[in-house]
């Protein structure tokens, strides 16, 4: 019997858990790439993925976030960065708020004042503009969502 949650693109999707207060959306490229899922897949260890998943799970269930969790980005009005450290590397997701939603545009790391990718800020601006102009798309991001290829 076919899994009713299976999608045509081969990813196993999950319905959003009702205990979550916040929903996450991620930028989807023209070729269909979900940028945060892809960024997470490229983490050097599954350990780091687990820490990321737990971070997202916890903040998704909090009624409000502090400025330490989600800091405004200087020179990028309306944009925020989710922040956590895993395996001594600072991780960031750049995005912006919607109505009880956080739109994630790009993920990066930050070590000794160097961002990786170095174009993260430009990418944030470009993608945010594309979403506003409806030339770019967003898709849902589910915590603990595991693409079939990673299972």
């Amino acid at each position: 019997m076919q899994d009713p949650s299976a999608r045509e693109d081969g990813l196993v999707s999950q319905n959003y858990d009702t205990v979550y207060v916040w929903k996450f959306k991620q930028f989807k490229t023209a070729s269909g790439r979900r940028v945060i899922c892809d960024w997470k897949k490229r983490f050097p260890s599954r350990r780091r993925q687990a820490i990321f998943d737990v971070f997202m799970d916890r903040i998704a269930k909090m009624n409000s976030w502090t400025v330490d969790d989600c800091k405004p980005i200087k020179n990028h009005p309306g944009c925020r960065e989710l922040r956590w450290t895993a395996e001594k590397v600072e991780h960031r997701i750049f995005g912006y708020f919607g109505e009880k939603e956080f739109f994630m545009m790009v993920g990066c790391t930050h070590k000794q004042k160097i961002y990786d990718p170095s174009s993260a800020f430009d990418t944030l601006d470009d993608r945010k503009k594309a979403v506003a102009n409806r030339t770019g798309q967003v898709d849902e991001y589910n915590v603990f969502w595991t693409p079939k290829s990673s299972q």
Partner: protein
């Protein structure tokens, strides 16, 4: 089992991932809980630092996910500052998964000892206090205020079900209820629970 749970339980088949969940308890959950405990008590970071005999920048770092390295001694000092217990032990992954699946931010709130055990003591003593006061009223004896349950005891008890409906547990009504009780008017109506 909900779909989020099934995703998590699938992922733990990978050893590196499941030990990442253990790391996340330290890197993510501890900072969030530390912040929650501090704010639950209405303390600033400097106030917590003083109580834990640490410096404020260290408290600030510890409240950021992955921002600081925790030692057992640090955790012990923080537990003492908050006057809560600290449980450190190895556990099966099933227990960790279940906890994670059931997590909500309230899970991080922990009452201090006085709040936890003080409430239990009040619950045990309050019927006796009310009964004694009611008996004294019936006997026409004036009671000193020290013998009557205090407003704090009444309001923390949380079960003033039998006081006249006009004096239900709202701040102004609670004060009125306490005054009236101390004036002996409604003691006869307060039933031991």
């Amino acid at each position: 089992m909900n779909t989020t749970s099934s995703g998590l339980r699938k992922a733990v088949n990978d050893k590196d991932y499941r030990h990442g969940l253990v790391s996340a308890q330290i890197d993510i959950d501890l900072p969030f809980q530390l912040r929650r405990l501090r704010m639950q008590r209405g303390w600033t970071q400097p106030e917590l630092a003083e109580r834990a005999q640490m410096r404020q920048p260290r408290i600030s770092a510890m409240e950021k996910p992955g921002g600081a390295h925790f030692t057992l001694e640090t955790l012990r000092r923080l537990a003492e500052a908050f006057d809560v217990a600290l449980i450190v032990r190895f556990a099966p992954f099933g227990e960790l998964l279940e906890w994670s699946e059931r997590f909500n931010p309230e899970t991080f709130s922990v009452p201090a000892f006085d709040e936890e055990f003080g409430r239990i003591a009040s619950r045990a003593n309050l019927p006796i206090a009310i009964g004694a006061a009611a008996a004294a009223v019936a006997g026409g004896q004036r009671q000193s205020e020290e013998m009557l349950p205090s407003l704090d005891e009444l309001t923390s008890f949380g079960k003033i079900v039998s006081i006249d409906s006009k004096y239900r547990r709202r701040p102004e009504s609670a004060a009125t209820a306490a005054q009236v009780l101390h004036g002996h008017d409604l003691l006869g109506q307060a039933q031991a629970i």
